[in-house]
Subunit: 268 residues, 3 copies
């Protein structure tokens, strides 16, 4: 078994929530290696958590247990899930947050966590991260057979995937992620860029209907090939067409938000 357990939450860094989860894990498995994915997911932003998990889960050692707690339905009848995939385990609420990564890796089994033997003795109504998800992850890291946790689940909730339209010289998509530097990831993949026929040095026109905005950007290999302050587009490290400002913030300059529709065409 890997002894790596990752944590991804919207709990922030200033409260006692995250260290309480870590204490529970270390109490059950003192040899666990706990890694923070992030705890700064905007409150209840399930899509952003799902994308962040998808972008990072695959770099961890085989057998790593990924715990996600972005959980507006805590304490209601929403299910708690463990998903076993080809290489990993995923633990979290049944609200779609685990599925983008789990389906990417290949799902082998999904269980509803119902066996109280693997939870804390008293389960609060508001903090399943500490009382359910943390202990379950710790027991899995000790080798627990997940079929003991509860019945098989065949209908997990999935997130809707924003649609893309791509053709020669054209793409209609949306902003799926804005990163720490204000770079805006469109849903256009590198394979789509091939369909579009886009080449380094080409200029793109990006229309953002919500902002009634037209932006021109050169398609380049990396930030440093643009002038300081120049708007550019590139294929980023996750394989998406990204809109950027060299040494600046694309999102701030243009007031772009996650979810914004974008229409992209090759100008020259």
């Amino acid at each position: 078994m890997s002894r790596v357990i990752t944590l991804l939450t919207d709990f922030g860094y200033e409260s006692y929530f995250v260290p309480s989860m870590k204490g529970v894990i270390l109490n059950i498995n003192p040899n666990a290696t706990i890694v923070d994915i992030t705890h700064a997911i905007p409150q209840f932003n399930i899509f952003k958590a799902a994308f962040t998990l998808w972008a990072s889960y695959k770099y961890f050692p085989r057998g790593t247990i990924h715990v996600v707690v972005v959980d507006p339905g805590v304490g209601t009848s929403r299910r708690a899930l463990v998903i076993k995939t080809r290489n990993y385990y995923f633990v979290g609420p049944d609200n779609g947050v685990l599925m983008m990564a789990a389906e990417d890796d290949g799902i082998e089994d999904i269980r509803s966590i119902e066996n109280r033997s693997y939870m804390r003795p008293v389960v609060s109504s508001t903090f399943h991260g500490r009382d359910v998800f943390a202990p379950v992850a710790a027991y899995i890291s000790l080798g627990l057979d997940i079929s003991l946790l509860g019945p098989r689940v065949t209908d997990p909730i999935k997130l809707p995937i924003p649609p893309n339209t791509v053709s020669k010289g054209f793409a209609r998509s949306s902003i799926i992620y804005i990163d720490h530097f204000g770079n805006a990831y469109t849903g256009v993949r590198s394979s789509d860029v091939t369909i579009m026929g886009l080449g380094y040095g080409d200029t793109l026109r990006i229309t953002v209907p919500r902002k009634n905005l037209e932006i021109e950007a050169r398609f380049l290999r990396s930030y440093g090939f643009a002038k300081e302050g120049e708007t550019l587009a590139l294929i980023n490290s996750e394989g998406f067409l990204e809109l950027s400002v060299n040494r600046g913030s694309f999102a701030s300059r243009y007031g772009i938000e996650e979810g914004d529709e974008v229409v992209i065409s090759i100008v020259k």
Copy 2:
């Protein structure tokens, strides 16, 4: 010995303070497992640090050493303490920040840290986290007998505890903690809620004299039982009566701050 050492400070995440402490610890005990409680305590907010420690210390393995550095009196004559409790060690300044947790676990011995053999060779006047508390914690994790650190202390400084008044249908208390989501914890405990005779579905009236404000809130089991945007009250994971807005921030909506007095009555 547990090899877990936790750190709780108001040092923030952007400076070199916290990693310097971690380096010092790992230099003395390369096998220590260091866990951050938080470093985002508001500057010099001793009560918030004390509550955060109290809420999280107890989930860690027996023998864990909890280090707290919220220390406006650094370099003056304030004492540096090690407290041995039934299950843990606490290390930090003598300003009350350790006592809420230490008394909760049961104090067995308190020592004033004076033996320079267990400090860094040169002790700065402004960074005892690195030069005193970190090395002392690391040596304790290696099995140091704390009686070697200095003389016994019998008069540690304690924090004043905000008073509560509770009777049938009524409570007068204050906001003792506001969490990452803007939930406001009153000082009313679940045992007080029994005295009040409060039951799920009841409606509370909460008066906040400082804001000249009256708020109505249903008492429910968890956030998800309220409508989106509805104000509610619940018993939270720490056993306090908490005021909340489902998928919103109670503190922001009503301008509530830690320390605010609240008067609570059952309306129906």
Copy 3:
């Protein structure tokens, strides 16, 4: 070999960048101990990253591998470096960010990272932290001979050092660092303070030409010797003359920024 690898970036805490690097490291060396220096360096602020590294690197166990990714030139022809010093390894871009610490410890060998065997199989143009620096650090932690990484470098880029002028009763310097509490570090060292003839209790006049500002401050041993809200100066834990407000923020009160010139004289 030490199994400690530290990470210092401007990637923030909310994105998937940092955990992806940690996953890559743990995949190569599951026994690595990863410590965050900080990920909150202001975007592309190479000097602040260099200072933060300098202030913390030396407390870590001998053999620690310090990875820094503040890298506006990623994907261009800027070199990627490994520096072996007397006690440590430093890994990062060739833009000066490693040199303040590396020269302080004593440089023994510098290599340009060019051998693709020690990078991820596909190297993106925009995320060398994950694809180059993280795997190289992990392989070094397993004992890799750094001469296998690439050719020797004899002309690494260095940062300009802000000049100081010091004489009896006088210093002309600049603000080199502002910490989490708003304390402003001048470039004046404790040895300069001896030249100035400054003693505890003396009063300093600090002139800030950019702000057209004159500030008076007593020179004291630590914050707590000043009255609450009083402006003071002290020798801080890193050996610099620091300007401070007891229980307040010097930087906020006076609008001081890193890089500001300061002229300091002893008044009485």
